[in-house]
């Protein structure tokens, strides 16, 4: 641990066998939150697509079936779970370690905005080894997670508004009744809720790809960190957020 810090390129160029250190990044609530949220989002997408365009039909008497009813029930349940994880995450924004706190999840640091361009260039293969190194979320991740949390918020707000339409005297309409008039009607809200789904489908492959890619390139156990909570990082590398 006494080694002076260098860039990853310099570290990679050293002949000496590399030393790694283990960093504990993600407490269990974050990990649990991540995978529960991931599962509920996948559930929401699958059930949401059924609600949007029922791709199975039943036959015979209507009294014998409740397919759409069940799918909607699962959708709403998964929505509830997603909201529960969001509450947990919000709590942890203030209670977690420095990698988990709000300043690390969203690009609040000036330094992160400064670094952002260099990270983008690295993804574009321009001086990739000089890119600033982060143990937690790099600026682009911060930005995309900001986006995905916003997306989840919009999805939930429009979703709960639509849910509330069934009972305009009820709890959900009381809380979210303003959404329709704001957007220009229930049909617009449905449209927004529907279109937002495509953003998940854009985020997901990029997210999974970039984490696996980082793992492959840097061999720093990135993927497993969201399971175990730990990462092994080169001990001699200068991490911005160390």
């Amino acid at each position: 641990m006494s080694v002076s810090t260098v860039t990853r390129q310099e570290s990679l160029s050293r002949d000496a066998p590399v030393r790694y250190k283990r960093v504990y990044l993600w407490h269990w609530p974050i990990r649990a939150m991540h995978w529960i949220a991931a599962a509920s989002v996948l559930t929401l997408i699958v059930t949401g697509f059924y609600i949007g365009g029922p791709y199975f039909m039943t036959s015979g008497s209507a009294t014998d079936h409740f397919l759409m009813g069940r799918v909607r029930f699962v959708h709403f349940t998964a929505a509830g779970v997603l909201v529960a994880t969001a509450i947990l995450r919000t709590y942890w924004l203030f209670m977690g370690n420095k990698f988990e706190r709000w300043r690390a999840l969203f690009p609040f640091h000036v330094r992160d905005w400064v670094n952002m361009w260099r990270v983008v260039r690295a993804y574009m293969f321009v001086k990739p080894h000089e890119a600033p190194q982060y143990m937690g979320h790099n600026p682009i991740q911060q930005l995309s997670y900001t986006g995905i949390y916003t997306l989840a918020l919009l999805q939930a707000v429009t979703g709960f508004y639509l849910y509330g339409l069934a009972n305009t005297g009820g709890f959900f309409f009381m809380l979210f009744g303003w959404v329709g008039p704001l957007l220009g009607g229930a049909q617009v809200a449905r449209f927004v809720h529907h279109v937002l789904v495509w953003f998940w489908l854009i985020f997901l492959p990029v997210h999974v790809y970039l984490t696996i890619r980082a793992d492959v390139l840097h061999k720093e156990s990135r993927v497993s960190s969201i399971i175990s909570g730990e990462r092994y990082v080169r001990a001699d590398v200068d991490f911005v957020d160390d």
């Binding site: 690390a104 449209f191 495509w198 790809y209 390139l217 730990e230």
Partner: protein
């Protein structure tokens, strides 16, 4: 119905006296009050109050302005159902000005309007069908050489209550659809100093107009309304939640194409564009034309005609979701979304390939690959500690 001679309710008698003379039994009258109360969502305990209020009523004056419109709403009121009761209710008023039916024309008609507004200032009920075009100083609608706006403002000034009937008076209906060439707006955009009740629909069911008037005459105030000014007793619930086809919706049984097997079994019209899930209207309960049927009942999806700007937000009518402006009819949001998602996946793949090539090049240049650590050499985990200390790195 609007021909008050049929029952000649004179201004010196109350409605109670009038009905007695007409031979309407107390029982029938109470039954009617009960029906109206049910429609208004009033508790049974209030029926005597409705009855008492109506019984002591003297015939109020009604002025009906027809602005920029198609007259469908007037026709709808002409079809209002329930022969005896409908007559009775519409006989509640003295209709002093109404273009479609009135005998006088030209100056004589306008004189009737002026006289009624003067004699009943502050007391008459103003019904309005049609929108107000505001572009070009309002010359897209004139009556007697005056603009609709001027006429409406004048009539609203002395009105005790303003009831906007139909989608035109609500938000401009079809003429306000993009690009709204005449700048048509609803009544509430013009009349801002008093509440406007909106009987939404293109056209609406006439019984709702009747019930709203009865509510006003009974309680001397307008019924509770939603944010659009629609009375809650009629527009408080969504079609989708009152629809007889709902069991098929929940079961997963949908009409895929008109007149298919499913259509002949009366299944749900969701997939052929039904806007019931986004529409608040009493259609499924009250039904149309003397409870004969209603749009979804007759196999056609709901167009969402009680909702603001439905010509733009509910179209294409046979698609579940609205069109993205600027893209052709076929290119709906899903095509664009799917294209983006596929494009992203492809981009990810391309980036992966590029990464591989990049690394091969670097290898040639002699830039070494990361050395896989010896698992045995790793130190004990360094924990940054509980986040309470140091939030920055």
């Amino acid at each position: 119905m609007f021909f008050p001679t049929s029952h000649a309710w004179t201004h010196d008698e109350t409605l109670g006296e009038h009905m007695e003379r007409r031979g309407v039994s107390r029982r029938d009258f109470l039954k009617f009050c009960g029906q109206i109360s049910v429609m208004l969502g009033l508790s049974e305990a209030l029926v005597p109050r409705v009855a008492a209020a109506l019984q002591n009523l003297r015939r109020p004056s009604v002025v009906w302005l027809q602005l920029q419109e198609c007259t469908g709403c007037v026709e709808s009121v002409l079809r209002s159902s329930d022969p005896t009761i409908g007559d009775l209710v519409l006989d509640l008023v003295s209709l002093d000005y109404q273009h479609t039916l009135m005998a006088a024309a030209g100056d004589a008609a306008e004189a009737a309007l002026q006289a009624s507004m003067e004699e009943n200032y502050g007391e008459y009920i103003l019904l309005v069908t049609g929108s107000v075009p505001l572009e070009e100083n309002g010359i897209y609608l004139t009556i007697g050489g005056r603009t609709g706006r001027e006429i409406l403002e004048e009539a609203a000034a002395g009105a005790a209550a303003v009831i906007a009937i139909g989608a035109c008076a609500h938000f401009g209906s079809v003429q306000a659809a993009r690009p709204n060439p005449t700048g048509a707006v609803g009544v509430a955009e013009i009349v801002r100093d008093k509440p406007v009740v909106t009987i939404a629909g293109c056209p609406p069911i006439a019984d709702v107009v009747t019930a709203t008037i009865v509510h006003y005459l009974t309680f001397n105030r307008l019924p509770a309304m939603d944010g659009e000014g629609r009375p809650l007793f009629a527009y408080g619930a969504r079609i989708h939640d009152q629809c007889p086809r709902r069991a098929h919706f929940d079961a997963g049984q949908y009409v895929q194409r008109f007149d298919d097997e499913a259509a002949r079994l009366g299944w749900c019209l969701y997939e052929v564009g039904c806007k019931g899930p986004a529409t608040f209207s009493p259609c499924p309960i009250l039904q149309w034309n003397d409870h004969t049927d209603w749009p979804i009942g007759a196999g056609h999806p709901c167009l969402g005609c009680t909702e603001r700007f439905f010509w733009d937000t509910m179209t294409p009518f046979y698609e579940r979701l609205p069109n993205v402006a600027g893209f052709g009819v076929e290119r709906n949001a899903d095509l664009i979304g799917a294209a983006l998602a596929v494009g992203t996946a492809a981009g990810v793949g391309a980036h992966a390939v590029a990464t591989g090539i990049h690394r091969a090049r670097e290898r040639k240049k002699g830039i070494p690959l990361p050395v896989v650590p010896d698992p045995g050499t790793g130190p004990a985990p360094v924990s940054p500690g509980s986040g309470k200390e140091g939030s920055d790195g």
